[in-house]
Amino acid sequence: MADNGDDDNQYRIKEGDYVVLKRGEIFKAVQIQPRKKVIFEKQWIFLDNAVGQLYSTTFEILSGGNLKPHELKDSASPLDAVEAGTDNRNIVDDGKSQKLTRDDIEALKEKGLKGQDIIKKLVDNHATFGDKTEYSQVKYIKKKKKKYENTVMILKPSCRILAMMYHGREPGKICHLRYDTLAQMLTLANIHAGSKVLVFETCAGLVLGSIMERMGGYGSVIQMYPGGGPVRAGVESFGFPAHFHDTLHEFPICHVNALLAGTLDTSAKDPTAENTDEKQLNLAAEKEQNQPEAEEQGTPEEESMETNTGDDAGQDVEKTEKDKLKEAKAQVKKLRLEEKQRRLAATAALLKGRNADGLVIASRFHPCPVLLGLLKFLSPSRPFVVYSQYIEPLVECFKKLRECGGTVNLRLTDTWMRHYQVLPDRTHPLLLMSGGGGYLLSGTTVATDHSKPAGSKQAEEPAPKRQKLEDTEG
């Protein structure tokens, strides 16, 4: 066997871990924090008892909100020893078949009866359960299980789980990006370890995190962001190891033009100063930490000074303490700004070479200018993918790219996805399916041809022959 006891450690839930709670098709991303109440499916839960357990364990939610690992009782299924009918010709849906009232069921719940037992009671008190067909009985039980089983599974986060979660819970936050569309993006953009990928997204960090997961901590990801700062809340939910964040960079798009024109002033400090900067940063931070302590206790001299030498001397001491604190804070702020500036310079250096390996865009911004602006940073023969909730902006992008040249293999696509119920003699697609998951425009960059004059040979490929209508390829 390839596994041994030590391996188990990486599969155990730890305090501080980012996890995903699951019940049926409902997911929720949370962080394991001691004594913190978490709400999930209208229930308050404490996750403390999950610490130390293995991921993918199913827990029962006890009254009070604590968790207990769920023991699967292979005891009699509610269907044993129940006869079944052949069809529903005699079953009247009058709403009176179930003898237990809502209050009765609540009382059972309060008594602490387990989900499985509640269901048994429901079956026992159902007047026409025995008349239902076997399939109908199974369906009934399944439905009740969904309603009354009080369990939750704790999962390790992954792109798959988080993408499904966001799409089910908060699609507006991710521009209604359906998870299979996200899957297409990651593959079409050839996201892999070791590449340098540019990302522009307003999907709460889901796209960014998914890309980071597929890069495994190798290579670099540069998040181009609009406005004041990059939004990355979703990235946290992936629970990446710390070193992954070393590969993540950010760059404000308001500086893109300056960078392209070569006029961006990054005032980069020389590398030798870097170390001292960091040391100073640490020292100042330490000072800041020590300062409150010093204020509380005071050195013996200072204390005696305060008590013995009277008000004036005491005030002077206080003032110096305050000044010191102010200075230290200003120092930290200055160093933080310098650190930010240094990072900006480093990211600018990564971009300046215009040799990125991939570009992914998924935002509420009009994709056309974003794409045209950022394509310049890619090497030739590299893929790019643009997501849009709507098709028209991508049609514009398509046209613009055709006019400008420099790209091949342009495709405007969307995917259709359907789930199936697979049961013996009851296999069919599900009754409801997703109406749409957004659109993608993908392509590959090529070397831009500077020798040819603009007017000649526009079309990248011979025009398709099958047109009989009065339309023109453009």
């Binding site: 599969y11 293995l54 050839n190 046209k399 199936y420 296999t427």
Partner: protein, 294 residues
């Protein structure tokens, strides 16, 4: 050049992709002194390819085209078909649903286009164990992996997965089955997978196969069993001109009506998309499941 790492310049021994036109893509083994015939004329590797940048234009006697760096996606469109292959749409969905990423250990039966996509995703620290029961195909695919500089990431075994399994035990994070009788391989898949669990995917064109597979998965204790299909719709971007009808001069118009806008020439031009007359309607059903801790 390799299928898992980009490089900038074409070198002797590389596999390059000639992008001749939309849906006309040709792989070529770059060799000093060799020549390749294309619809646009002959290209000479030594002058036209070697030393050139990937993405550059190559001009021939009858036209021009671009040379691209190979990717699994381009390979899927370009590769010589030996059996029915999986296309990018399914591959992308499978990759995400199996949670593949750098370091993943994967077992696969039925190698081909998916193998390259898997290798690209699990590199540099993962490994692919692929099983192919047809001897010639197994040899050919091993050769290809070497040419594509990914052989260090993959082990090819020529055996019958339904009888002899994948040849490994307790190591796989994910298993992919693309065989006629996947239900016979479910037990072997379970053995190949890690003790603490993993993901499985089975691709089958027929619903009966799906039913049998789901039953086998259930019997073997797999969870989260779900079956999905994904289809790609490609939109063709067009500029169309729609003529406007001529209802005769409008009796209610005043002098402002410009006689210059002659009604019989009026039309509206717009940019729009259309769908092809036919589109792929089915490739196969994808069944996913999770192996719990055993």
């Amino acid at each position: 050049m390799s299928f898992v790492e980009y490089s900038d310049f074409i070198q002797d021994g590389d596999v390059a992709i000639l992008y001749l036109s939309h849906n006309n893509v040709m792989p070529v083994k770059v060799q000093q002194g060799a020549q390749t015939q294309t619809r646009y004329g002959v290209i000479r590797h030594s002058t036209d390819l070697i030393g050139q940048r990937y993405g550059s234009k190559v001009t021939c006697s009858k036209g021009w085209f671009h040379v691209l760096h190979p990717t699994p996606e381009l390979w899927t469109v370009a590769l010589p078909h030996r059996t029915q292959i999986l296309y990018t749409t399914d591959i992308a969905f499978i990759t995400m649903m199996l949670e593949l990423k750098p370091g993943s250990i994967v077992c696969e039966s039925g190698s081909g286009s998916l193998s390259h996509a898997i290798l690209r995703t699990i590199a540099p620290t993962g490994h692919l164990h692929t099983v192919e029961f047809h001897q010639q195909r197994a040899e050919k695919v091993a050769e290809e992996f070497k040419e594509h500089r990914v052989d260090h990431l993959v082990t090819v075994r020529n055996q019958d997965v339904c009888k002899d399994g994948f040849g490994v035990t307790g190591v796989a994070d994910a298993v992919f089955l693309d065989i006629p009788s996947p239900w016979d391989a479910v037990g072997h898949a379970k053995v190949a997978m890690k003790k603490h669990g993993g993901r499985l995917c089975s691709f089958s064109p027929c619903i009966e196969q799906v039913q049998k597979t789901c039953e086998a998965l259930q019997d073997q204790g797999f969870e989260d069993i779900s079956t999905t299909e994904v289809l790609l719709r490609e939109h063709d971007v067009r500029t169309v001109s729609l003529p406007l009808p001529d209802f005769g001069p409008d009796p209610e118009t005043t002098e402002e009506a410009t006689p210059a806008a002659a009604p019989n020439h009026a039309s509206i031009t717009l940019k729009t998309t259309t769908l092809s007359r036919e589109m792929p309607g089915h490739t196969g059903y994808l069944t996913f499941a999770t192996k719990p801790r055993t």
